[in-house]
Point group: C2
Chain length 428, copies 2
C-alpha cells in the first residue's frame, strides 16, 4: 500500500540551516571544472581561467595624437613641402626632414623619420601649392606622438584569471589582438524529472497525468545563469528507468538536478542510488518553502573504472514548483556560477524597506518572493510581495526579482521595516 | 589633404541632450517588430506578444490533497475493503462505495465514485488483511479533494501580452500545457566597422593597422542584452564597400550600428547614405564621453520597392571604445529591449553614495563608469570609479556595472555625495 521502496526516508538525513547548506554545496564544487579556449565571439559573460597577456603593443606603431604634420622637430617653424599623407591605414610618399613634412591624421602612424607632430591649427597653407607654413613648431621631440605600447605593452597581463569577461573586456581582448581566450568551461547541468504521472507539455493528458513543469522551468533557469542545460527527460517510477537516467547524467553532466519523486506517492529510486554510490551531505533544510532539499556527491570511479570521470554533484529539489524555484536560486544558481569560475558566485544581498505587512513563520526562516525596486520618493530600495506565498501557487513566483530573508518569529513585520533581500534578477 | 568627402559634417546636425536622444530613438522604435511562436525551450527571458490562455485545467482531474482513502463521505467511520490504489500516474481496481475505499496518494486522481478523502492519520489498519478502519470520517463532501481547475481554468488568461517570461513563467506555461508561446521577435542588430586601418583580432598587423575592437565588443553586448548579433565585418574606406555593407544591413537586420569612420582621417560614406535615403534625427549629443553620436531612420521602400521592408534604425557610435561603451548602454541597449517587446526598456536608476571625490565637467554632463555595490556598514548603495575616465582607456570601462550621472558644473563632488546611477549590470 502506498508505494515507496524500503530506503532511508529524507527525514533520516541531517537537517541544516540555509547558509550551511549553501556552504556545503559550494565547498564540494571546488576545482571540479576545467578550462577551455574559446573564440572572442563566444567569450562574453564567462570567466577567465588563466591570466591573459597582450599579443601586441597598443598602439602597435607610433600614432599621431592630432590631425597635423609629421616633422623633424629641430627644423622648427617655416615653409615646408608636404611630401605625402598618412591617413588611417593608407599612406603615400612619406619623406620627412630637410624641408619636407607629411600630413597625418589622428591615430595614423607617424613616418619613421619624423620625431614630432604639429597640429593643423598651428599651421596655415603656404602661397605655393603643395606647401604648408608651420607657424608654431613642435615644442619638443615626441610632441603629439603616442609611442608604441603607450596603452598596453606586448606580453603585459591585461586581464587576470577569475576575472569576468563582459562587453568592455571583449573590446580590450580584441584591442590587444587576443582571439583565443582561456575561460572556465560552463557547468553542464542535467535535469531529470521522475514520476509516472508526468508528461511533456503540449499534448493530450491521459488519465491521472499532469504536465511536467519543473523540468522546463529548471532547464530555462540553468540557461539563464550561464549553465549548459542537459535535458534527461522524464523517467518513469521504475528502478531501471531511473538508474539509467542517473548513469546518463554521470556521463554527460557536472551537476544533476532532480525534482519530484519525493512525495509519498512516488517511489524514490534516486536516494538509494545516492546512498549506495555517493555521499548524502544533507536531506532536509530549515527553510520555508523548500524543506526536502537533498545534496549528494558522487566521487570519481564510484560506479566503475572511469565512471564518473570527475566528482559529480546531485541536488534533489522539492517537487513543489515554488519550493523548486526558491531552492534553485538559493543553492543551484550559486553552484552553477561557482563551477563556471565566478569568484563571487552568490546573489547580491541588499536591505530593502517592505511596502506591506509580513507575517513571519514561527518555525522556519522564510524566503519570500518579492519585487525589489528603487523608490524615488523614499530614496531607498523597497519591496512588495509578488502575491500569495502558498507553496503550491507558482503564480506567486512570477517575475520576482528578489527573495526577502524573513527571520523565524511569531509576529508580524510592520510596513516600512528593513529586511534583507537576495537579488535574483535586476532591480526595477 | 586630409581625406573626407564633401558631406555635411556631424556638427551640422542638431545637438541634443541625452534624455531627448533616448526619447527620439525609442519613439522611432514603436511597433517595428513582429511576433513569432517559439517552443517552451526557447522562451526564457523573452516578452509575450499576445495573451496566453491555459490549454488545460490545473489540476486536470480531481486531485487528492492528502495520502489517504477515497471514500463515499456519507458512509462514515467503520471497517472498509481497500479495493485498490491510485498513486501518481498509476491505478489498480478502483471501486469505491458500498463498503469499499481506495488508497490514494497526494496529488493522485480521486476515483469518480468517491466524494471525499480521509487522510491516513484518521485511519488504522483493520485486523483482517486488505481492510482499513476509518476512525474519523470526512467531515463533508469534497473534503481533501482539489476540484478540477482549482488553480487555473482551461481558457483562462495566465500571462498577458508584454509580460516577461523568466523561470517561473516557463513553469507556469508548462503547468498549463502551453508549448507554443507567442513572443516578440528579438531585434536583429547588425554591427559594421569601417576603416582601412582595421583588421580582425588574432593575426599579424600590417603597417599602420590596428585591431578592430569595437565590433567584437558591440556584438558581445548585443547578445548580452538579448539582441541577435549580425556581423557585417569591416568595410574599407571606399564608397562601394560601405554602400554594399549598408544594403546588407537593410536586408538582414532591424538596427544597424556603425562605429568609427568618424575621425578626420576616415572618409565617412555612411552619413551621405543616411542623408540621401533616410532621416538623420541627431548627429551630436551633449554628453561626456560620446558627443559624436548619430541616429537616423530609413523608411520602407526608401531604396527601391521592398527595400527595406520595414523601418530600419541606424546608430552611428563614436569610434572611441569607451564612448562606444557608454553610448551603447545609454541608447542602444534600451533600443534593443524596446524592439524585443520589453515594456520598460530602460536600465534601472538608483541613488548611490560616492566613495571618492568626483571632478565635474563644466561643459557637458558626464556618464562616469563605476562599480555599484551594497555597503553593509552604510546600509546604502555606494559607488567607486572603475579607474581613469579618459575616453581612450578602455580599461576604465572594465567590469563597470553602473554609469554615474554627473551634472555639468565647475566644481568637485565630495566623498559621500548622493548621485544618480544607471545600472548596466547586476549590483555587487
Amino acid at each position: 500500500m502506498g508505494g515507496g521502496v524500503d530506503v532511508p526516508r529524507s527525514s533520516s538525513y541531517p537537517m541544516v540551516e540555509v547558509p550551511a547548506a549553501v556552504d556545503i554545496v559550494l565547498s564540494q564544487a571546488e576545482r571540479v571544472l576545467e578550462g577551455e579556449h574559446v573564440e572572442l565571439e563566444e567569450v562574453a559573460d564567462r570567466v577567465l581561467f588563466e591570466d591573459v597577456l597582450a599579443q601586441g603593443d597598443v598602439p602597435p606603431f607610433r600614432a599621431s595624437i592630432k590631425d597635423g604634420y609629421a616633422v623633424v622637430q629641430a627644423e622648427g617653424p617655416g615653409i615646408y613641402d608636404v611630401s605625402g599623407e598618412v591617413t588611417a591605414g593608407r599612406q603615400s610618399h612619406t619623406a620627412v626632414g630637410n624641408g619636407k613634412v607629411v600630413y597625418v591624421t589622428t591615430g595614423a602612424p607617424v613616418p619613421d623619420e619624423a620625431d614630432a607632430v604639429v597640429q593643423v591649427e598651428w599651421t596655415k597653407p603656404a602661397e605655393e601649392p603643395g606647401k604648408i607654413e608651420i607657424i608654431t613648431g613642435a615644442p619638443k621631440v615626441g610632441h603629439d606622438i603616442r609611442p608604441v605600447g603607450t596603452d598596453v605593452k606586448k606580453g603585459q597581463t591585461i586581464l587576470s584569471a577569475r576575472e569576468e569577461v563582459h562587453m568592455a573586456e571583449v573590446g580590450l581582448l580584441a584591442t590587444c589582438n587576443v582571439r583565443n581566450v582561456p575561460v572556465y568551461k560552463n557547468a553542464r547541468v542535467a535535469v531529470l524529472s521522475t514520476g509516472d504521472e508526468l508528461v511533456e507539455a503540449g499534448g493530450e493528458l491521459g488519465f491521472g497525468k499532469i504536465v511536467d513543469s519543473n523540468r522546463p522551468m529548471l532547464l530555462a533557469a540553468v540557461g539563464s545563469v550561464g549553465g549548459i542545460p542537459v535535458d534527461l527527460g522524464i523517467a518513469t517510477d521504475e528502478e531501471q528507468a531511473v538508474t539509467s537516467a542517473f548513469m546518463e547524467a554521470m556521463l554527460k553532466s557536472d551537476v544533476l538536478i532532480t525534482s519530484g519523486g519525493v512525495s509519498m506517492g512516488n517511489k524514490d529510486f534516486i536516494k538509494p542510488l545516492l546512498a549506495r554510490y555517493g555521499t548524502v551531505h544533507f536531506g532536509r533544510v530549515m527553510m520555508k518553502p523548500g524543506k526536502p532539499l537533498t545534496f549528494a556527491t558522487i566521487e570519481p570511479n564510484a560506479f566503475s573504472e572511469g565512471v564518473p570521470s570527475s566528482r559529480k554533484l546531485v541536488i534533489g529539489l522539492p517537487g513543489n514548483p515554488v519550493s523548486c524555484f526558491v531552492c534553485f536560486h538559493l543553492v543551484v544558481s550559486p553552484l552553477i556560477r561557482k563551477l563556471s569560475g565566478f569568484r563571487s558566485p552568490h546573489n547580491p544581498r541588499v536591505m530593502v524597506r517592505t511596502k506591506m505587512e509580513l507575517k513571519l513563520d514561527p518555525e522556519r526562516p522564510e524566503y519570500h518572493r518579492a519585487l525589489v525596486s528603487w523608490d524615488v520618493g523614499q530614496r531607498a530600495l523597497t519591496a512588495v510581495t509578488t502575491g500569495i506565498q502558498a507553496s503550491s501557487r507558482l503564480l506567486s513566483a512570477r517575475s520576482a526579482n528578489g527573495l526577502l530573508v524573513l527571520p523565524r518569529a511569531d509576529r508580524t513585520l510592520p510596513v516600512g521595516e528593513e529586511v534583507e533581500a537576495i537579488l535574483i534578477g535586476q532591480i526595477l
